[in-house]
Amino acid sequence: MCGIVGLFLKDRSLEPQLGALLSDMLITMTDRGPDSAGIAIYGAPAPGKTKITLQSATPGPDFTKLEGALAEVGLRASVTVKNTHAVLEVDAGQGEETRAALARLRPGIRVMGSGDSVEIYKETGLPKDVVSRFDVRSMGGTHGIGHTRMATESAVTTLGAHPFSTGADQCLVHNGSLSNHNNLRRELVREGMIFETQNDSEVAAAYLTAEMAKGKDLGQALESALDDLDGFFTFVVGTKSGFGVVRDPIACKPAVMAETDQYVAFGSEYRALVNLPGIEKARVWEPEPATVYFWDHEKAA
């Protein structure tokens, strides 16, 4: 089944509440998928810095003295540990070098995502536990997406949790199941994409990353996905400044959207939206099948 939520704020005064609003939306969707939960939040970028969200099954040894270990190989980083995750801030342009160093120095560490503004927290377990472990409620930001998983296509693991991030500041949550993900994965591997799981949703994320690398914007990449992805899907995706939604042409996976002057919100069910401010007066609708919906802060500005 899976439950997905998304919130894209238009009104800056709501930004400090983003984490709290998204947490409530996600917890409401717990009964659609109790296996794992995850959330991606787009916060304020630090000028000249890149954020890398890390996860470790042994956070004690892996994160302790990580700053010093990186400094020894000439990399300046600040580390903020949150439970099993840590957010590394490095100088922009040193992201790739840092990831390579991490693989050498701390092979147990997994990279959940990276970019100017995105932070990704995901673990197995119930949404209420996941959001409290990472103190998601206290986080602010411009937009974010979340997912609570009922596993169908791959194992219940931290890496199998959503959101999937396969490019800088890009992430995707998926409700459904793809039928051509193995073929597509082979093609994407040939194009140089690297996969961490056997999960079909990771293929969708990597597909969009590959399309955007060819110069498409998120909206155009989602249009292509309608031609190239086979199976059932409702996707909610985030980029540094954008927020997109698309459903397959059969559209049997549920989706409800709401828009006010203050925000655009997505939920698998209307229940997820009922606590949002002004929802009573929002325009609420069900996204059409095979139709791309896309908002962008930069384009709106």
Partner: protein
């Protein structure tokens, strides 16, 4: 009139109360507040009760309704009035997928739009939609009437049996074995009757087109093997 606040009262208590109404009871008007998208609100009614739901509901509202009159003053999630036997369900807002699916009788009125698969496998229910309906509506519809004042999405009436479909607006495409049919006097009369039951005024039956089964697919014929 009992007012049930779903913010306080468990859903099961509401449905149990609706099921426990004795024959001849006068206390048969319920109001439900704070539904907040709850699933399975007012399902399994089998008495002539009236239920006014003040807000939007989730999955399967008023399912299996037999003789009740349920009004949702908001929108409804997937599967509203699924398998209705008799009675009336009115949705003031929009309805999600498969509204009125497999319904055997009664009247479903949707004042907004209905999404995909509206009236799928309908078996005698009458459905009146003021707005538009999505794709694959009335798929395998067996009997009953689907009236749409707006437009219909793709593959209307695919693999249709004997349900009668009336659409005032455009039809994006007809499904397999569905065809436009002549509007005969008895159909105009039936439409006028459905308008009256659904409280529709200012619309003339002549504005509608009728669609039904070409009857080539549902009796097995080896010449049609490619179409299956």
């Amino acid at each position: 009139m009992p007012v049930i606040d779903l913010a306080i009262t468990p859903l099961r208590d509401l449905n149990s109360a609706l099921h426990a109404i004795p024959q001849g009871s006068n206390d048969i008007a319920f109001e439900v507040v704070n539904p907040r998208g709850s699933h399975a609100v007012a399902v399994g009614i089998d008495a002539p009760v009236t239920v006014d739901v003040k807000g939007s509901v989730g999955y399967y509202c008023a399912g299996m309704n037999d003789g009740g009159s349920v009004t949702v003053h908001g929108s409804a999630g997937p599967g509203v009035a699924e398998n209705m036997m008799s009675g009336k369900v009115v949705i003031e807002g929009d309805a999600s997928q498969y509204a009125g699916a497999t319904g055997r009788g009664g009247l479903l009125v949707i004042k907004g739009n209905a999404a995909s698969r509206c009236g799928i496998s309908m078996k005698g229910i009458d459905i009146v939609v003021h707005g538009s309906i999505g794709h694959m509506s009335a798929f395998m519809g067996q009997s009953g009437h689907l009236v749409v004042l707006g437009d219909a999405g793709e593959a209307l009436g695919d693999s249709l049996y004997e349900a009668k479909l009336f659409v005032r607006g455009t039809v994006k495409s007809l499904g397999s074995d569905c065809m436009e049919k002549e509007m005969r006097p008895e159909h105009l009369t039936k439409l006028a009757e459905l308008f009256e039951m659904a409280g529709i005024t200012g619309v003339r039956p002549e504005e509608f087109k009728r669609y039904g089964s070409a009857r080539k697919l549902y009796n097995f014929n080896i010449d049609n093997a490619d179409a299956y």
